[in-house]
Symmetry: C2
Subunit: 155 residues, 2 copies
């Protein structure tokens, strides 16, 4: 079983490198490892983000952002945005992503999260299968509802 642990501010260079690799692989813009290290360190320190690291190298990470108050849920609690979930290319299809996601959801529950959301690409079939098998849906209001889309823009 893959060991998953919470990242500390000292892990910022490792997280920055993983995030940089993620951005590069998915052809997203990236501020570069150095700028990212500073931002990651500052946001880990201020608890603006929470990062979980899987394995010793490490082999993957998840990155969470929390909202203290849920407005969407009938229950009191927090909300979480799963901004990233990444496993390094040569360690995929070995259950690391699933172990990471499960521990991430467990961590969210421990922090009082009642609702979590994320955006992913239609193309990323492995990720979609993982999310769907772990209880996520992209259907609005139930199984037969319309598909929900993720939109973004720069400002």
């Amino acid at each position: 079983m893959t060991r998953v642990r919470l990242a500390a501010p000292e892990d910022a260079p490792t997280v920055a490198r993983l995030l940089h690799d993620f951005n590069t692989e998915f052809e997203e813009e990236t501020p570069g490892v150095e700028a990212m290290t500073e931002r990651i360190a500052a946001t880990l320190r201020s608890e603006e983000i929470t990062v979980l690291l899987a394995g010793e190298s490490p082999e993957g990470f998840s990155l969470l952002r929390f909202f203290a108050t849920s407005l969407t849920s009938p229950t009191d609690g927090r909300e979480a945005y799963l901004a990233e979930l990444y496993v390094v290319p040569d360690r995929r299809h070995q259950g690391i992503g699933r172990a990471l996601l499960r521990r991430t959801l467990e961590h969210c529950r421990e922090r009082g999260v009642v609702w979590i959301f994320l955006g992913t690409s239609t193309d990323d079939e492995a990720a979609r299968a993982l999310y769907e098998s772990e209880g996520f849906t992209n259907r609005e209001g139930g199984e037969t509802g319309p598909i929900m889309l993720f939109y973004e823009r720069e400002l």
Copy 2:
């Protein structure tokens, strides 16, 4: 031109009613107007959320959540999640949603936001057309990229 203004904590009952109407119309769970009023008042006060109100009745609202540090952008700046954008049913197709969205993006720019995202339903063609005509995309990495999906689950 529709007047759009920032909501103050005193507007919580109005915002809660609009949010309740939104949830009811889209068959989402809702904590009810009373519980919602408390949460809205508290989160407006703590600046955990920002709400913009359109028109005098008011006829619509947008609800934003901010992240102080962007990890995705090469530029320093904040990120914003547009959690809701709603126009009351009998005032639709009159440009209120567009005025509200434009003022919301302007407000984001004033607050240093460099990236904004949201989730919407495939079915909501009016909303999608509005977002797309105001510069949002649901394609990853450019016009010909794969569609991005919004996933969620309760915990």
